[in-house]
Amino acid sequence: MSQHLLVFPILLPMLTALALLLMGQAPSQLQRRISIASTSLLVALSGVLLVHANSDVISVYNLGNWQAPYGIVLVLDRLSALMVALTAVLALGCILFASAGDDARGSNFHGIFQLQLLGLNGAFLTGDLFNLFVFFEILLLASYALLMHGGGKARIGAGLHYVVLNLVGSALFLIALGVLYGATGTLNMADMGYRITQLEEGNAALVTAGALLLTVVFSLKAAILPLYFWLPSTYASAPAPVAALFAIMTKVGLYALLRIQTLIFSESPAIVYIDAWLWWGGLATLLLAGIGALAARDLRTLVAYLVLVSVGTLMSGAGMGHISGTGALLYYLVHTTLIAGALFLLAELIGLQRGKAGTRLVRARKLQQSTLLGSMFLVGAVAMAGLPPLAGALGKLLLMQAADAFQRFWLWPLLLLAGLAAMIALSRAGSVFFWASYKGAPSGPRVTSLQLSGVTWLLVSAPLLVLFAGPVSHYTQATAEQLASPQHTIQTILPDVNAADFALRPEGDH
């Protein structure tokens, strides 16, 4: 039983999705209960996997019992376990919030939501590049449908851009896969990483081309500078629970980038370009997203730009190219994903009580529950802007410490400036929403208990991540160390590979 545990994060959402899709299009109470129960089970399951991965064991699951590299494998290491757990926790908050009524604005919300989880978990667990493509397509197709949930002009317009861009991205992904398969003759990530170390000279240029193509594709998903312009309008127009779940979507791109950076191309000449691209692209994203946050005239757009700020921060961490940078960025990733999700949900609650003004930054009528929403917004804003005492500050501190002398010169001013921009933008938004209101009786729907529990579930992560900062950062640091020694992963997946084939790598380097 326990060796099959690895496939459950994929099977559970799939079976739930099938059952929910068969139960009719409009959400019934039963559908909601099933969806919440299944997602809670996923949280528990991912907790078990997390504990399992924490024992430094890399588990491999051969689908159909075909041995790697011929069959498709699922691999659970520390990074996969962390990402699956993060997805499950975020998804539970979103599904609780959606069950308060957002799911009834279109058809089949819960079924498609579970399909999205299937795609996400599959992408985090698979050890095969082509399989990664398939899971990407599953999660993208589900995200197209979720984004359009409820319809409306803005959603259709933004959705069209999002769909077309991602289809072009998929085409590039396939070209990259073709190039890499032609050059190395394998699609298994570990096997590819191993074969690249043994590659003859003639194919090195092809591998570099394939590696850079893959980097472009994943940068599009992760939304790094020249490829992020789709994100603000898409996230700002998506329904709140969907936008909150999308907070993990950019992290899928980051996850894939970390994987190819550490496991596949760490020994290839392409790694220099990948690191440089991530570093400078991340810094530039940080700068422009900070300006975008200041310019945003709507809370949803503002949060979307703050997501971009976090993407920039994470990417520059990945571009540092050493263990402590990766460890720091993983700690920051957990925090920023959950808080961005919470802020999207909060924006919806605030917008609902402001009538026609919605989330636009203009004077409007008084909020019905301004104390409750205001205090939650304060927690979210402090966490997102990275102020002490919440986890955002710790994450940034870890990243700034991880940078070496040259990197500090660039990272410190940009990271602090972006933090300042986020703080100014959020405090401006907060003062407009909670202080600059017209006189008159407040109206609008009160926050339901389900909505409140969804937002609280995500917001609570900010103080919890500070309380348990020790164990969490220890875990992320160990994750970074595991990523930095891919030969161990390769030997677990491919037991036949000779250990002597690996040259010893310099310490603290990919």
Partner: protein, 113 residues
């Protein structure tokens, strides 16, 4: 054969990219379709171009690599579903936004953008 094959792939992707950059949803969909043809042909060729070699051991002296064929099959299925989706989306966008421009706004009078 290699020359012909690479020419076909190149022309298909060039036309696909040209159409993708246009402003109306119809040309974009045609462009996406052309691009996916080019990608499928390219994937197919990654196992090497051979004539008279089946992807079955024992049928021919030098069997072809079956994996690219399997990959192409998957890519075709996924590409087909995606094209169907984007066609429906384009029709929906035409209905909701009132025109078929990608930005949802009609260009200048007489503009072909």
């Amino acid at each position: 054969m290699e020359l012909l094959f690479s020419l076909v792939t190149g022309v298909l992707s060039a036309s696909g990219i040209y159409l993708l950059l246009r402003g109306r949803t119809f040309s974009i969909i045609v462009g996406l379709a052309l691009l996916s043809y080019a990608v499928n042909l390219f994937l197919f060729s990654t196992g090497g171009l051979h004539t008279h070699s089946a992807a079955v051991i024992g049928e021919s002296a030098a069997p072809a690599d079956p994996l690219p064929q399997a990959l192409v099959l998957t890519a075709i299925v996924i590409g087909f579903a995606m094209t169907a989706f984007v066609v429906i989306l384009a029709i929906r966008a035409r209905a909701e936004l009132g025109n078929d421009h990608v930005d949802g706004k009609q260009g200048e009078e007489g503009s072909t953008r």
